[in-house]
């Protein structure tokens, strides 16, 4: 397909030494931890942003922090770019490699190191999946709050890289609000620890800077996260509306009424149909838009909150209200929502936008999004975290048709600019990666970006860590 997003020119000085580099890296790792044959490298050429592919020079799968340190020390010494990778579920191309880069995959570092229920913390290796943490403490009545839809596969290291969110962060916050500490390896192989089991750390909040830095400040190998006691009960309720605008306005009014549900998810008609066909979640098919509102607490608390929410929904002309009667029904509602991206993938290729807008702009941005996509002759399905204004229009297209793909990308760019112009941002939880890199100057000016890049260079003066990502290729400081 036509590729409009560029990568840095591969360093010929690195590519020409490929054979030596592979041999040297193999010496730093146990047997079976380095991949360098073409068939083995193939699965690492992209992530969930599948429109772009680049073969890496090699893939290293270290088993310990010391091995990560040895790899980075080597790559730093010889100027070899490094692309960190968790499970490769990035929707923005954050884990897509390049021809001169060594991928450092953390998948073998998947041990839970410590569960401390007294202090309500879990310390895990970076390759542990998001869901594994919650499962490990579920029987004791706890969970780890951020819940990206890919939580079955995505790793905590990747979550930290992208500062991942999820449906339930309306109440509990995103990764940065639930992260207490990391062990990480700097570009030159130095191992540092930031934070720990205490709630705050001394000095500058480097942990806050590292979270969401898209693998550009170092490689996180261990993380300590906060655990939260599970609520007594949780109840998702479906609200069907005759228009997306009515649903959007209802969201703003629910929040404005002083009630913060755990989650408010939005689906428009195309998304409802796609998800219902896949998950049989019991979604109403005769409405234009659906809200999944989840409240939690005791039965009596949930009743009280729901009564207020229902009153607001009625003011916005809600057409259908469906409360689930059993835990199975509740699980089905969430299964439908969380499989939205996968289910969409069954019917078409798609790119998923991730802009966030102020709630007052939700209806306007939804309407404009529909117009923009229609203007390019494409279809869109909207399924997103409405409570915090984090929109996910899925632009459907055919990946094998270069013109279609170019139109989808152009529509996506227009939508993201719309989000910024509405007072929002380019990305709420998926990260900039390569996908939104060239739009950064729409949200920031060059001085803003220069300050970010300078801080980045304080960690990685040679720019070897995930170098093609986040910052526009033009206007970078000389390394």
């Amino acid at each position: 397909m036509a590729e409009t997003i560029g990568f840095l020119q591969p360093k010929q000085s690195v590519i020409s030494r490929r054979r030596d580099i592979v041999a040297d890296l193999a010496d730093l790792l146990p047997a079976g931890c380095l991949i360098s044959d073409e068939r083995g490298l193939k699965p690492f050429e992209t992530d969930a942003f599948i429109a772009y592919r680049r073969m890496p020079l090699a893939v290293a799968l270290p088993e310990t922090t010391e091995q990560v340190a040895a790899l980075l020390k080597y790559c730093s010494r010889y100027g070899v770019p490094v692309v960190p990778r968790g499970a490769g579920t990035s929707l923005s191309g954050g884990a897509i490699p390049q021809e001169d880069a060594v991928v450092i995959g953390l998948s073998k570092m998947s041990r839970i190191l410590d569960i401390d229920l007294f202090n309500r913390t879990a310390t895990v290796q970076a390759g542990v999946t998001n869901l594994n943490i919650s499962e490990a403490v579920s029987a004791d009545g706890f969970f780890y709050a951020p819940d990206p839809s890919s939580q079955l596969a995505c790793t905590i290291g990747g979550n930290i890289g992208m500062n991942s969110g999820g449906a339930h962060c309306l109440k509990y916050g995103v990764t940065t609000n639930n992260l207490l500490g990391v062990k990480m390896v700097l570009h030159d192989g130095t191992v540092i620890e930031l934070g720990g089991k205490a709630l705050d750390a001394a000095g500058y909040d480097l942990l806050g800077l590292v979270c969401g830095s898209e693998g550009q400040l170092g490689i996180v190998t261990e993380a300590t996260v906060r655990l939260i006691a599970k609520p007594e009960g949780a109840r998702p309720v479906l609200f069907g509306f005759a228009s997306s605008q009515a649903a959007g306005a209802c969201v703003a009014d629910v929040i404005g009424s002083g009630i913060i549900p755990v989650a408010i998810e939005f689906m428009d008609k195309p998304a409802i149909e796609i998800c219902e066909a896949f998950a049989h979640a019991g979604y109403p098919l005769d409405v234009e838009a659906l809200l999944i509102v989840e409240v939690e607490g005791s039965e009596q608390e949930m009743d009280e909150m729901l009564a207020s929410i229902v009153a607001v929904a009625r003011r916005h002309g809600v057409a259908t209200i469906k409360e689930c009667q059993t835990a199975m029904e509740a699980a089905a509602i969430w299964k439908g929502r969380k499989s939205a991206f996968g289910a969409t993938g069954r019917i078409a290729d798609y790119i998923c936008m991730d802009g966030t807008v102020p709630l007052s702009q939700l209806s306007h941005v939804l309407a404009r999004t529909g117009e923009i996509v229609a203007g390019y002759g494409l279809r869109v399905a909207n399924v997103f975290h409405a409570g915090d204004g984090n929109m996910h229009p899925l632009i459907l297209y055919n990946i094998n048709d270069p013109e279609d793909a170019a139109r989808a990308e152009a529509a996506g760019n227009d939508i993201l600019k719309l989000c910024v112009d509405a007072g929002g941002c380019l990305t709420g939880e998926h990260g900039v990666g390569i996908e939104k890199r060239d739009l950064m100057l729409h949200q920031f000016n060059q001085a803003d970006l220069d300050q970010q890049m300078a801080a980045r260079a304080a960690f990685d003066p040679q720019w070897i860590l995930n170098p093609s990502k986040v910052f526009p290729l033009e206007g970078r400081p000389a390394a």
């Binding site: 480097l206 913060i260 009596q300």
Partner: protein, 403 residues
């Protein structure tokens, strides 16, 4: 303190900073000057106050966000929020009582020092509520970071870095932050007569319940009488706060009281008493005694707070009370030198840090007020600082342990 510059605009601040940078002159940055006792003494050529850069820029209650200029008094912001039944979730401490300082604390100062209170344990620190900032860096450039929405991962999160940097990276000019609905009701469950270790266990037990405790503090007998005019029941008080809808708070308080009855006598405080008690815990009332006796703020894992105090007691006289389930220890000692002792024991127990919050200026001049960092982290912090303030003109000396 003599204030040399009080610009009323961001551009005015940038102009001052450019002039200072050109002359390689240093600048102390203050808001309302109510927390200047915090950290190491600043030795600067000039003083700049953000006080005149004041006012709420925009406030959208339905979006739960507020934007204010950095010099806006906290009082003004809290009044605007209260009028819409909202609040600052992180419950910022007012430092005036412990420093016996006067003036108006500003919102910029709160975020520059990442000032948080008892609810920090469940609702996050000031930095967790901060969505976006504008600031002037050490080269006099106005920089924007973050934004106005809850979820935003666009670019490096400089917002977190600026929070808690005590004005050493840049001068905040505007802040945008998240606010939360004011809970309609609150109660406190009090368990009496526990020792420090027992209290830690009870607080951990309470936090593991589904009752959504949003404040967990232990007030040993030595300080108990100084809270809410001595109205807490006799004996050390372990206090647990519940907030929410009226009926639900009562119900949860019943559940919690029942679950904790086996540990000691249980009493309850109503909404009025609860508000007063937690404000006093937040502002460290027992040690707001008009003195400049050294006061330490220790942050450790909740299970370690009481162990630290017990270990220190074998060496010296200690008076302490606990917030954040036991992980935040407000501490007074009779040791000499104190810093070395408390920091050594924190390391032995497994990590955390101690901040010298208050002391005579002479003492603060020789003791690193903030916990010294391991060399690689200190060097990294120093490199980061240099990218914001290459000439080191902002608040030189304030974070002596950092750079």
């Amino acid at each position: 303190m003599i204030v040399h510059f009080e610009p009323a605009s961001e551009e005015g601040i940038a102009t001052v900073v450019r002039a200072m940078a050109a002359d390689r002159a240093s600048l102390a940055v203050i808001g309302g000057n109510t927390r200047s006792g915090l950290g190491n003494p600043v030795r600067a050529d000039r003083v700049l106050s953000t006080r005149r850069l004041s006012g709420i820029v925009s406030y959208a209650p339905a979006e739960m966000t507020l934007t204010a200029l950095a010099g806006t008094p906290i009082r003004e912001i809290e009044q605007a929020l209260a009028a819409n039944r909202q609040m600052l979730a992180f419950e910022p401490m007012d430092h005036r009582p412990i420093f016996a300082s006067s003036g108006e604390p500003t919102i910029g100062g709160v975020f520059a020092a990442n000032v948080s209170g008892p609810r920090r344990y469940v609702a996050g620190a000031a930095r967790d509520s901060l969505l976006g900032v504008r600031f002037v860096n050490g080269q006099g450039e106005a920089i924007k970071a973050g934004g106005r929405v809850m979820k935003n991962v666009t670019g490096l999160d400089l917002v977190k870095l600026l929070a808690g940097s005590y004005g050493t990276l840049g001068i905040l000019t505007e802040v945008t932050f998240r606010v939360l609905p004011l809970p309609p009701a609150a109660q406190t469950v009090v368990v009496s007569g526990l020792n420090d270790a027992g209290a830690a266990a009870v607080m951990a037990e309470a936090m593991a319940q589904t009752t959504e405790v949003c404040g967990a503090a232990h007030l040993p007998e030595s300080v108990r009488g100084r809270f809410i005019d001595g109205a807490l029941p006799d004996g050390a008080a372990t206090v647990l706060r519940l907030e929410g809808l009226e009926a639900s708070v009562s119900l949860r308080a019943d559940t919690l009281a029942k679950a904790l009855a086996r540990f000691g006598a249980v009493a309850r405080l109503d909404g009025g008493q609860t508000a007063k008690l937690w404000a006093e815990i937040r502002d460290v009332k027992p040690y707001a005694d008009g003195t400049k006796r050294p006061l330490w703020r220790v942050s450790v894992a909740p299970s370690l707070g009481h162990q630290l105090v017990a270990a220190l007691r074998l060496q010296t006289g200690v008076d302490a009370f606990y917030d954040w389930q036991g992980g935040l220890v407000w501490l007074r000692m009779e040791a000499d030198p104190e810093a070395e002792l408390v920091r050594r024991y924190i390391k032995v127990l497994g990590g955390g840090h101690a901040t010298l919050v208050r002391a005579e200026e002479g003492y603060r001049a020789v003791i690193p007020a903030f916990e010294p960092q391991p060399p690689p982290v200190a060097q990294l912090s120093d490199r980061v600082r240099a990218t914001f303030d290459p000439h080191r003109i902002f608040n030189p000396g304030r974070m002596a342990a950092i750079s």
